[in-house]
């Protein structure tokens, strides 16, 4: 039991950068901008963050550097897609490759050297709560920050006026515009902020979970793509997105844990299992949209049908209607 708790606490810690990056992506996609560069950006920010922390000896500087790397990348994406009206997909994709290679290239001087790391800090009192204490409150500050971020971003998007404006801008920019909202300004702000959070995920790895900078061996390549898909899975909602992040890392852990029991299953199978599982979940989430399901439901008695409709409506979250579409006033 205790061991399981420790493992789960590890899962939560390991999922933290994923969760933070998913929330970042959620912010920018809610405003209508897809940040496809997440993958390369996380790698690059891991490198810059580590380098900054190593050079100054202060981890906070490293974290800040990661955030700034992301924010600058965000401004770049906004500029090209909003001001220059370039395709967000093409630009994001290329930036993703570019950032990654840039990280490997510029990171050479910082290869395999020990650097500062974020140290753990158990929260007094809270850490003594049975089960929850060791699970949630015996972590480091970054993890606590992610808790706050999850709740704050959810509250911001769904329970504040500013959040409504953000969603409006991503849904119907023309309507938002004719109500006096500066659509492009909103998009700039949220893309920079969101991209900053994605950037922050980088040093969360290199200064904590996978401490150090090991170039191509750092093993961060690929996480950004997962972040993008979890954002969709999460229906552009920080709570669901975070759940997706934790679920994904849990499945990864499960794959590793089961390896010792199911020795006859090739280890590769268990390692890639989380990916098809994520796809299956996505499928289930959107199944209510398909025609055959609608037809099948029509044959059910009223009460049952109603329950299914409710379930599907709850699960299904359509993307922001203007995602990826540049806004042009008429």
């Amino acid at each position: 039991m205790n061991e399981f708790l420790t493992n789960m606490a590890g899962v939560i810690a390991a999922a933290t950068p994923v969760v933070v990056a998913v929330i970042g992506e959620t912010f920018s996609e809610r405003s209508g901008v897809i940040n496809l560069s997440a993958n390369g950006l996380i790698v690059l920010a891991a490198m810059t963050g580590f380098a900054a922390a190593y050079l100054t000896g202060i981890v906070w500087v490293g974290l800040l550097a990661g955030f700034l790397t992301g924010a600058i990348a965000g401004l770049l994406i906004s500029f090209s897609s909003i001001s220059l009206k370039q395709s967000q997909v093409a630009v994001g994709f290329i930036l993703s490759l570019l950032f990654r290679d840039l990280a490997y290239f510029l990171g050479t001087p910082f290869m395999v050297i020990p650097g500062p790391t974020v140290s753990g800090w158990a929260i007094p009192l809270l850490k003594d709560i049975p089960i929850l204490g060791p699970l949630l409150f015996d972590q480091n500050v970054l993890v606590y920050f992610s808790y706050i971020l999850i709740i704050a971003s959810y509250y911001w998007i769904f329970h504040t006026r500013q959040g409504l404006v953000l969603r409006g801008v991503g849904e119907q920019p023309i309507s938002a515009y004719s109500r006096g909202i500066d659509v492009n300004r909103q998009r700039y702000i949220y893309t920079a902020l969101g991209s900053g959070l994605i950037g922050l995920a980088g040093p969360m790895y290199s200064l904590s979970i996978k401490a150090g900078w090991n170039g191509t061996m750092t093993g961060l390549d690929g996480i950004g793509w997962i972040v993008l898909s979890i954002t969709i899975f999460g229906g552009w909602n920080p709570l669901r997105g975070s759940f997706g992040g934790y679920l994904f890392v849990f499945l990864q852990w499960l794959g590793l844990a089961l390896q010792s029991y199911w020795t006859n299953v090739p280890s590769q199978v268990l390692q890639v299992a989380p990916f098809p599982l994520m796809i299956l979940t996505l499928l289930f989430v959107n199944i209510g949209d398909t025609e055959w399901v609608t037809r099948m439901l029509a044959t059910l008695p009223r009460g049952v049908r109603g329950a299914f409709y409710k379930l599907f409506r709850f699960l299904r979250k359509p993307p922001p209607a203007s995602l990826g579409v540049p806004f042009e006033r008429e």
């Binding site: 409504l164 404006v165 849904e171 309507s175 004719s178 109500r179 006096g180 025609e291 609608t294 008429e330």
Partner: protein, 487 residues
């Protein structure tokens, strides 16, 4: 608010949408802005509300020149506009929708969200919007109501209404008009864009007419209708009614049909549609007409019942099966459901052409496009994007896309936003089809249109459907009462 427009010009590419328009509007006045489809009315109003920028000219508000760069600037001055296609947020609840506006441009006394004031406005206008309902589930008319209530709630000084009465019943219109008169009495300025002369006659103290981008005339109340028509179209227009082609051959028979969704339940519908007949659906927007039309088109699954087409029961089939049999549905939200923004007219025709071939026969599609543009008198070219057309011309495009061998046409508000000439003309086309045994079911908020063009009328009231009424000799008063659920 005193408004003066001086020599406004606006080009869209080679289209001169506003040509040297000068106009003064006094405070407390209700000004009617008339003009045929594509005359440039919406363009002029969008310029005044900051949504688009003029190419040249001056706008003076209360004597001061203002440079309206964005709607935010206009809102700050107290200019609000109800757009022809509502500018709202279909994915949100009404309550959420209402909270989206830029606070810096909102009026000071409304920085807090005052739901009571909103409910009061709703009540005064006789609207019945459920704040927790979703905007996307409203009909176009209800969405216009929502926008109108919202603008009044924000307390604008100049209220621009771009065809606000398309989805409102006669009684609601009365309430709306008296509300507008009251607002004008309080010194607010109102610009009322419309095609409907009766409305302008009833409401406005002054009317100006645009034609092909130019302001060509101005009249004070009392207006002479014929005179206004002549100004608008350059000639007299009379309604022509073709003989009914209705036969007694049953084309579609609906039996014990039940339709339900989370919004409305329609129970036990029974009627026969005869070949070549026109049935009109009367009723307030959102009383179930849309669900009914969609169910008959296979776009919405009815929960039980029979839809007999010939010997075949179409219940449970999908909309492609219906289309294969020549049953077509034309929605009223043209930009969202009917047309594809970002595609040209020609591409629309190619898309709607069912021919199964890989390559586009460009010679043929050019020909079809030119032919349809001419035949349907669309003010646009083959390479024009659908969203660049004026509202009325979008409607023409939508109707021109209908496949030819049609057995049943299900039209939701087919002439919404069309001027008299176009309405006449569309109906002459539709009537021509009836001669060829096509049957039509259409919904409309316009009682005149219903009694004039329909052979029989079904009245909807919150999901209940009346017996079919013969439109010949039907008295409009009674129809109005039935629509209000009082008969």
């Amino acid at each position: 608010m005193h408004i003066q427009l001086k020599n406004i010009h606006k080009y869209f590419g080679s289209v001169h949408a506003n040509n040297d328009v000068s106009l003064t509007i006094e405070p407390g006045q209700i000004l009617g802005l008339l003009g045929e489809n594509g005359a440039g009315k919406s363009t002029l109003m969008k310029i005044l509300s900051g949504l688009i920028c003029k190419d040249s000219g001056e706008i003076l508000i209360n004597g001061e020149e203002q440079d309206l760069k964005s709607p935010a600037d206009a809102l700050r001055l107290g200019i609000g506009m109800l757009h022809q296609d509502p500018h709202d947020f279909p994915s949100m609840t009404i309550r959420e929708d209402l909270q989206i506006w830029d606070q810096r441009s909102g009026r000071a006394n409304h920085s807090a969200v005052d739901w009571q004031a909103l409910m009061k406005i709703q009540e005064d206008l006789g609207f019945n919007l459920d704040l927790d309902g979703s905007v996307g589930e409203l009909t176009v008319g209800e969405r216009q109501q929502l926008e109108l209530a919202r603008l009044l709630w924000l307390g604008v000084e100049l209220l621009i209404l771009d065809e606000p009465t398309t989805g409102i019943s006669a009684s609601q219109q009365e309430i709306l008009f008296s509300a507008l008169k009251k607002l004008a009495g309080q010194g607010k300025t109102i610009i009322f864009v419309s095609h409907k002369l009766e409305e302008v006659k009833e409401l406005c103290s002054r009317a100006v007419v645009l034609r092909k981008g130019c302001l060509i005339g101005e009249r004070e109340a009392p207006f002479d209708e014929n005179d206004l028509v002549k100004l608008m179209f350059g000639r007299q227009i009379t309604r022509t009614r073709t003989a009914h082609a209705g036969t007694r051959d049953v084309c579609l028979s609906v039996q014990k049909l039940n339709i339900e969704d989370f919004r409305i339940a329609i129970e036990n519908v029974n009627f026969d549609l005869y070949a070549g007949e026109v049935i009109g659906l009367a009723g307030m927007e959102g009383s179930g007409q849309r669900q009914f039309l969609q169910a008959l088109a296979g776009m919405k699954q009815p929960s039980s019942g029979h839809i007999l087409f010939g010997d075949e029961d179409l219940f449970g089939k999908n909309c492609y099966d219906y289309q294969k049999r020549g049953i077509f549905y034309v929605p009223s939200a043209r930009m969202e459901e009917g047309l594809v923004p970002g595609m040209t007219l020609e591409e629309h025709y190619i898309l709607s052409d069912c021919e199964k071939r890989v390559f586009i026969d460009s010679k043929k599609s050019h020909k079809v496009t030119e032919d349809r543009i001419q035949r349907f008198n669309i003010k646009g070219r083959a390479v024009t994007f659908s969203e660049e057309l004026s509202g009325g011309n979008q409607q023409r495009l939508l109707l021109s896309l209908l496949q030819d061998p049609a057995k049943v046409l299900l039209l939701e508000n087919p002439t919404r936003g069309l001027d008299i000439e176009s309405t006449n003309w569309i109906w002459s086309i539709l009537r021509e089809r009836c001669q060829a045994a096509t049957s039509i079911i259409f919904s409309s908020a316009d009682l005149d249109e219903l009694t004039f063009y329909a052979d029989r009328i079904l009245v909807f009231f919150s999901g209940r459907i009346s017996e079919p009424l013969d439109s010949a000799g039907l008295d409009e008063e009674r129809l109005g009462r039935m629509i209000g659920g009082k008969d």
